[in-house]
Amino acid sequence: MIVRVWGARGSLAAPGPATVGYGGNTPCVELELADGATLILDAGSGIRELGQRLLQRDPGVAHICLTHLHLDHVEGLGFFGPLWRAGWKLRFWGPPSTTATLRERVSRYLSPPLFPIGLSEAPAEATFEDVPRGPWCVGSAIIEAEAVEHRGPTVGYRIEEEDRVLAYLPDHEPYLTAALEDEPRWISGWALAAGADLLLHDSQYTDEEYEQRLGWGHSSGTHAAAFARAAEVSRLALFHHDPMRSDRALEELYDEVAELLRNDQEPPLIAREGLEIELRAAP
């Protein structure tokens, strides 16, 4: 599979000269599967540009896996080109809720007064389903979703194809659930990330910021590193960058994380818009 990052900023889109290096769009990651299927993780503002690219091809099917429905993960939907083009089939997956269906919850944003046009007016064929409780297949990939520690119903995803694994936990505060240095099976999200080739993980805060934001649902870079180590992932990509974090400050955070993981795995990286990584089966 080919992993393309269209948005890695967290909480709020943050365009401008200070963030132009890693980008200001909120979460959206495209997976181009080996059989050509398109899988999209989250629908933050990054999905707008992805949509323009998808419109260059004939209408087809896209699977969109939402981790949760906080605005930064759905705000791009209203500007996702395929939604407004007849012939496209969009299959949405998201966390279950005890109060409303996924369609009803997404429609809260895609309806007046928050958005001028209702979801029911979109010409594309859109279906909405809660994530299954066990693995399911999309194209040639096997997907798993599990609830993870964050504010409100939230899932993380594990996508496996050709023995390569991507784990996606953009909004996650595992530190709340267990000491990250031991008892891995009691750490939120551990089973999703265990042994992954690439982990895109929340690293919104510095350690100092985290002390003031305990319980807000996000991780520090240090916690992301400890989680990656506990899960024995091959490579960590810092994700969900704080909207106040400049490129330069982000690189300082990266240096701290890279030092923590120096002996454990491939060097971590900073997820940035335009980043493309191919996870291919070993020959």
């Binding site: 609830a147 993870v148 520690e149 267990a178």
Partner: protein
């Protein structure tokens, strides 16, 4: 790598219990004891770190739960077991023996842990020692 892990509801319940000063025990969907906190250790006679997880049959054997008039209770008949099997909150009192050999009479409130409206992943029991009879 074996990737199985407890449901998030059980993970968060355990995390919650670690922070409580009230004695708290957690069992999973099979009735196996998967955690008790430090406050519970005072009554159960040893710490969770020492004891670890216990199968339902094992903790029943170790703690010897009994009604207050000394009739033996199975794991399924304790408040945690009833909460799990009948999917409802329960409040009851019973006697048990700690791993240090001390006898206790405790009053327990147990409730099932639902991860979905139709799925119970375990039960949480909080308890207090009954005052000793004068």
């Amino acid at each position: 790598m074996e990737r199985k892990q407890p449901d998030l509801v059980l993970i968060v319940a355990r995390s919650f219990a670690t922070k409580l000063a009230t004695p708290t025990v957690i069992i999973d969907a099979r009735g196996d004891l998967v955690y008790f906190n430090d406050a519970a250790a005072d009554v159960l006679g040893r710490s969770y770190l020492d004891v670890g997880a216990l199968r339902a049959s094992r903790w029943q054997e170790l703690f010897e739960p009994r009604t207050l008039d000394e009739q033996p209770l199975t794991a399924e008949q304790t408040p945690g077991g009833v909460a799990l099997l009948e999917r409802r909150p329960v409040h009851d009192s019973f006697a048990m023996r700690g791993l240090d050999g001390r006898e206790h009479e405790i009053t327990v409130t147990a409730f099932p842990l639902f991860s979905h409206p139709d799925e119970v992943v375990g039960a949480m029991s909080i308890f207090w020692e009954l005052p000793a009879a004068p």
